[in-house]
Amino acid sequence: MAAPILELKNVTKIYGSNVIFKNISFSVKEGDAIVIIGPSGTGKSTLLRCINLLTPLTSGEVYLDGHEVNVKGKNEDEVRQHIGMVFQNFLLFNHLTALDNVVLGLTKVKGMKQEQAIEKGRHELKRVGLADRAEHYPGQLSGGQQQRVAIARALAMDPRVMLFDEPTSALDPELIGEVLSVMESLARENMTMLVVTHEMGFAREVADRIIFMEKGSIVEEGSPDQLFRHAKSERTREFLGKIGDLYGKKEGAKKKK
């Protein structure tokens, strides 16, 4: 079996006396889609930022392709090139067109030639269904379109793994679907992804494994079927039950065969 693309060993983040998460360990194999769920304020987003070195870990180890990344002297910019990140609030570069948002990293980080970068940029925009919006500025796009451009921007770097930090939480309900379907197609293409989300329908259908986190720890993890139907922990059942109620019957109904 191939070595995992991403491996976390006992990672811990503490702000002052505030423990954000503690001793989290798991690994992500190539082509895996892992979904992290759990109540707000559980440290899920911080965990993603720590993996991407945007926030320093207090302790623990993160390995990308078998190489430890959060060690002193390691070139963080180099590491981040291989990890795609999609944020809750899109964070497109406001002063650039959709195409230039995708192209900027290619030319300024990867050192690709402009023409080549534009070609790749157009390809990535096509991949998220926005070939016709290449010349639009973020302010001229809907939230769903902006998030898809953000996905294209991350994909363009040919990352080893994609991190999604609640990618649909800032979207109007009718725009969520377009972003989720892009993510689903990525999963089908066997992109390795780690997704923090409250979209249980997505988790159930796309995840190879679901990790339920609460108060900075992993409560339970397993296949969607395990967690949704045979959760070992009372707390997991309670949380999934609540979420089901909140997000309506349709999700619950959809999956019942």
Partner: protein, 215 residues
């Protein structure tokens, strides 16, 4: 009146020259100071803050004399250069605040997104932060440009023959202070007005389509 204007306007070249030295110098130093303040370590950041606060806490004319004598003690500078460079240094303290505010208004998310793509901090500043911050800075900067243009009159105190200096000479020799200073005022007004109109135009031209950052 026309004769008065004709005489005083000959100082406009010097006024413009002083401004064209002071304003760009203040611009470059101001951006540099703002970046150091925001992104450098605590020590350097503290020094820039002290510099800015000190410079903004003292009248420009007082600083002008101090810097003028400090500079001419160290190197041999003409009053024109000493005055212009001094005004530029003074302006940098104000421009630092303008750019600091503009960079903060761009938001930390843009930096995070740029870093997430793999850009170094410097690249993120150059390709993502500054292009947006400079646009946001145009309106307040336009104000500072007008102030520097008007403050260039201070170098008259060093004997530089700019607009005000010539008006003063004219007032003394003709005994017509109202006409002489009136001519100076009119010329300053035309200059300031033109600069502001130009910057308004620039701001509109540089506006990012679809983006309505509340200003």
């Amino acid at each position: 009146m026309l004769i008065f204007l004709q005489y005083v306007v000959q100082g406009a070249g010097v006024t413009i020259a002083v401004t064209l030295v002071a304003l760009p110098l203040g611009f470059i130093l101001g951006i540099l100071l703002a970046l150091l303040y925001l992104y450098a370590g605590r020590f350097v950041s503290g020094i820039t803050a002290v510099f800015g606060t000190a410079m903004r806490g003292v009248p420009p004319i007082v600083l002008l004399f101090i810097l003028y004598f400090a500079m001419s003690g160290a190197v041999n500078l003409t009053p024109f250069w000493a005055g212009s460079l001094s005004l530029g240094i003074i302006s940098s303290a104000y421009q630092m605040e303008i750019f600091r505010g503009a960079i903060l208004a761009v938001g930390s998310g843009q930096m995070m997104a740029a870093r997430a793509v793999g850009m170094s901090r410097w690249r993120a500043i150059r390709y993502v932060i500054l292009p947006q911050a400079l646009r946001l800075a145009i309106p307040p900067w336009s104000n500072e440009a007008a102030i520097v243009l008007k403050d260039s009159s201070l170098v008259y105190a060093l004997g530089v023959a700019e607009i005000l200096r010539r008006a003063q000479l004219l007032a003394a020799s003709t005994q017509q202070p109202f006409l002489a200073y009136g001519a100076a005022a009119l010329i300053y007004f035309i200059l300031v007005f033109s600069v502001n109109r130009f910057l308004d135009w620039l701001q509109k031209r540089m506006q990012i389509p679809g983006l309505h950052l509340s200003v």
